[in-house]
């Protein structure tokens, strides 16, 4: 007889074996190890692991390099201690207070600095870390200065005093387990994909409806929060803190561990244990260990630039595993039953102009598109076609004029807001999220189908699981409709150019758009592929999606378009049915030149 629940247990073990092993290690470590110094090392490791968990999301998921997280670590430790000792606040409350203060500081830091990118943002974080370090060293009255801050009380629950290393190990281990769970889940779900998308191609991520700044802000504050908690635990563990625990070297060491570990929490934790354990083992030769860190970092970038994770936990495998999770049908209550049958005008562009620093790209363009139509936009190179698309989906703001979409003024809306209003697009040059599988790319297109944040998503609550299911289901449908399902689990970089174009189209369709902007979808396709594209475009229109098609391939444009709009030197020169436009004199002149026309 089969016991009920055994299947569930089976699948739990299969899916979560690293996590189960991890919990077992945390539980049995202090029981098995009797050596006082090794348990103490265990606590230190767990504390650093908490910082590293947060930084993994920031640096490896999202791609923001922080050189100053020791600053947040210090803010947590010092605030916690000062609140406890000077204001005699309960240590637990002090810990929470410190974490809140850290998040506020991280938030205030983000407001001006997140607009910076790459190394400038890194140097700004370094500046912040140094400011905190120097302040902790020089504000003698508050922090005890270079001499340090002593007599920090132990944590306490009821009569249980956390004065033994064992208890602190369990405390830090418990927090670590929770956040490892969150971060591990996050990596495989909607937000994790969004982060990777931002890191890999910010432009396409925005077009898929991802609010880049907001996500960066959340993750930055999340990682600062974790560093702060780790700092508080450190303070209550050693009961003494000094500025030397929060130097730049700490930030560098954590960063190096993450860069070696890669975008997977397990491989970073393993790296952390090995490297920090090693550092402790050769403690007498402290500076020798920094050399080893450095060497390993350099070797990592040469051997596997995406870190250990890319070797141990390759992405394509994870996506395939996921397919089993969602193979069952989508529950009835999650199905959307939206029928589109709108009539009238979906888009009205009025008198829009744009120039690139003096070069007029568009001049007083007006056009309107009706629902369920394909509008082709043609014109010679440099006529302003792509500029027009970029204005329509918010990459550029028009200098004057208005744009009305579904009777709403969208002239000054941002890209991700327009994606939310169901405007999707593809790009002239393929903009896919490299390093992700095909299905994940398409799933990013459905980012807006979910609303859960870091915690709800990370804790894998039912709402977020349902969201995942909806996202998965739609992505599969979108791939199937284009006949791409057989490539679903391949890394997108390995696809042919034509297939990559289709993946981009699938991603745009996954957004379930009302208006689809296509920028030269036939460029680089062969005849058979182009014919297939034409069929696909008609099918898409028949599903109730309006299409604006910028294209050079005349037979394609003329055969699928309901109306054609012709641009030349930023001005509209003709608009009408394909037959009408073909005969229009100005169009012929623009395409063939005046003399050619005279000859004919």
């Amino acid at each position: 007889m089969e016991l009920p629940g055994i299947n569930y247990l089976n699948s739990l073990v299969k899916r979560r074996w690293p996590f189960l092993i991890f919990i077992a290690v945390i539980i049995f470590f202090p029981v098995v190890i009797s050596s006082y110094s090794i348990v103490r090392l265990g606590v230190v490791l767990a504390i650093y692991a908490i910082i590293i968990t947060g930084m993994t999301v920031l640096t490896r998921y999202l791609g923001i390099v922080s050189l100053g997280h020791a600053g947040f670590f210090a803010i947590g430790a010092y605030t916690s201690s000062i609140l406890c000792v000077k204001l005699e606040i309960n240590p637990w409350l002090a810990m929470i207070g410190a974490a809140l203060l850290t998040v506020v500081i991280a938030f205030l830091f983000c407001v001006p600095f997140l607009k910076l990118r790459h190394i400038y943002l890194g140097m700004a974080t370094l500046g912040l870390g140094q400011v905190v370090y120097i302040l902790s060293k020089s504000m003698d009255n508050l922090t005890g200065g270079a001499a340090g801050f002593a007599d920090i009380p132990y944590l306490q629950i009821g009569s249980l005093l956390f004065d033994e290393d064992k208890y602190l190990f369990y405390l830090a281990g418990f927090i670590l387990i929770i956040f490892t769970f969150i971060v591990d889940n996050l990596g495989q779900m909607r937000l994790g994909r969004a982060y990777h998308a931002i890191q890999s191609n910010e432009k396409a991520a925005r077009a898929s409806g991802i609010n880049v700044q907001k996500n960066m802000l959340h993750v930055f504050c999340f990682s600062a929060f974790l560093a702060s908690i780790a700092g508080s635990i450190l303070a209550h563990f050693i009961t003494f803190i000094s500025p030397e625990s929060f130097t730049m070297d700490i930030s560098f060491a954590c960063l190096i561990i993450i860069l070696i570990g890669g975008a997977n929490i397990w491989s970073t934790l393993i790296t952390a244990v090995i490297l920090l354990g090693f550092q402790e083992a050769v403690r007498g030769l402290h500076d020798f260990s920094t050399g080893v860190y450095a060497l390993l970092l350099i070797v990592t970038f040469f051997v596997f630039p995406d870190g250990l994770a890319s070797v141990i936990f390759p992405r394509s495998k994870a996506a395939k595993k996921k397919s089993k999770l969602y193979s069952r049908d989508i529950p009835e209550n999650l199905k959307s039953s939206e029928v589109k049958n709108n009539t009238g005008k979906i888009l009205e562009v009025n008198d829009v102009s744009f120039n690139y620093g003096g070069t007029q790209a568009l001049l007083n363009i007006s056009l309107s598109v009706e629902y369920n139509q394909i509008m082709g936009i043609i014109g010679p190179n440099g006529a302003g076609k792509t500029t027009l698309l970029n204005i329509l989906n918010g990459f550029l703001m028009p200098l004057n004029g208005t744009i009305k979409y579904q009777n709403t003024d969208i002239t000054h809306k941002q890209v991700h807001e327009l994606a939310k209003m169901k405007i999707a697009r593809t790009f002239q040059l393929v903009n896919l999220f490299k390093g992700m599988t095909v299905i994940e790319n398409v799933m990013v297109g459905r980012h807006l189908k979910g609303k859960t944040g870091i915690f709800r998503s990370g804790l894998n609550l039912k709402t977020s699981r349902d969201e995942e299911h909806i996202i998965w289901d739609g992505a599969v449908k979108s791939l199937e409709s284009l006949g791409l399902m057989h490539r679903a689990y391949d890394i997108v970089d390995n696809l042919s150019f034509g297939e990559q174009r289709q993946v981009e189209l699938a991603r745009a369709l996954a957004l379930e758009p009302d208006l689809l902007l296509l920028d030269e979808p036939a460029a680089g396709l062969n005849t058979a592929e182009t014919e297939k594209l034409a069929d696909n475009l008609r099918n898409i229109r028949d599903q109730g999606i309006t299409i604006i098609l910028v294209e050079h391939n005349m037979p394609l444009v003329m055969s699928v378009s309901d109306t054609v709009f012709v641009l030349n030197f930023g001005m509209s020169i003709a608009c009408g049915t394909p037959e009408f436009v073909c005969k229009e004199e100005k169009v012929i002149t623009a395409y063939l030149g005046k003399e050619a026309k005279n000859v004919s």
Binding site: F113, I119, A124, V131, L297, G357
Partner: protein, 291 residues
């Protein structure tokens, strides 16, 4: 009081010159390769420490030991370029990753220096005595003039190089679009090599000139790189003059903070300036806005 201020001005000038030289190196490498070269400050350490070995230990005259030190710096810089930076860039590694890797390189060089020379501060004698000279009430040691002279010379050569040679002009534009540069036939590798030699020379000069005034030692590099970056960011990373003015501004703020408030807050003011500029004027005080 006036004497005090003059004294601070004098010391800020010398410190500012060192930051300016480091900033200059950072700007040139950043502009041509798009990599923030964390080894820059460490090259100053290499210069200073080699001078210590040659001049202070082996008593080799300055006229030989200074060029030798600069050659060692250049070798270290070129090795970094050819073993680490070029192979990574040609594999398509993002410049951010390469920048981080140079942190690793600088840590390795520091460790090697520590293994050879130990952890102690190393004193290098002044180039031409320690008899102070008083100008307008502020006293200078002769080494100050060496520093100012070296900086002025380096800056002059830089300006000539970037204004009047096509190679110099090409280098400042390369970081913007390496692929394009390669496509239109620029010898990108050669340009990178020039940039790294340049960075070694200005770094080395900074280290050499400053060694007699402050102690040198294996760990001074990272601090110098950070100060140099702050100087470059304050001045604007687009041009050499910006780097020089940034260095002088940082030097000024530092010595006045040290003099009037507390020497412990010296580094704080630099970091605050860096953050302020990145916030309010990311292109730097003298930089052009880049769209």
């Amino acid at each position: 009081m006036l004497e005090f201020i003059l004294q601070f001005l004098a010391s800020s000038l010398t410190e500012g010159c060192v930051y300016a030289l480091i900033a200059l190196g950072l700007v040139i490498v950043l502009r041509s390769t798009d990599v923030l070269f964390f080894v820059q400050g460490t090259l100053a350490m290499v210069g200073g420490i080699t001078l210590y070995a040659l001049f202070a230990q082996l008593n080799i005259p300055l006229i030989i030991s200074i060029p030798l030190s600069l050659i060692i710096c250049t070798i270290v810089s070129l090795l970094t370029l050819h073993i680490i930076v070029l192979p990574l860039l040609s594999r398509g590694a993002p410049s951010m990753s390469v920048s981080i890797v140079t942190i690793g390189v600088s840590m390795l060089i520091e460790m090697a220096a520590m293994l050879i020379f130990g952890k102690n501060n190393l004193a290098v004698p002044s180039f031409s005595g320690d008899e102070p000279v008083t100008i307008l009430g502020a006293s200078f040691v002769p080494q100050h003039f060496w520093i100012i002279g070296f900086t002025a010379g380096a800056l002059l050569l830089t300006l000539i190089f970037f204004k009047w040679t096509w190679m110099g002009k090409a280098m400042t534009g390369l970081g913007d679009n390496q692929l394009l540069a390669k496509a239109i036939g620029f010898p990108v590798r050669r340009l990178f090599r020039y940039a790294f030699i340049f960075s070694a020379l200005v770094g080395g000069i900074a280290g050499i000139a400053f060694a007699p005034i402050s102690y040198t030692g294996f760990g001074i590099g990272t601090r110098l790189t950070i100060k140099g970056f702050a100087a470059a960011a304050v001045g604007g990373i687009t041009n050499p003059v910006g780097a020089l003015s940034g260095g002088l501004i940082i030097g000024l703020f530092e010595s006045f903070t040290a003099g009037f408030i507390s020497s412990r807050l010296k580094d704080l003011i630099t970091m605050a300036l860096l953050l302020l500029v990145l916030w309010l004027r990311p292109q730097g005080l003298f930089g052009k806005k880049n769209n």
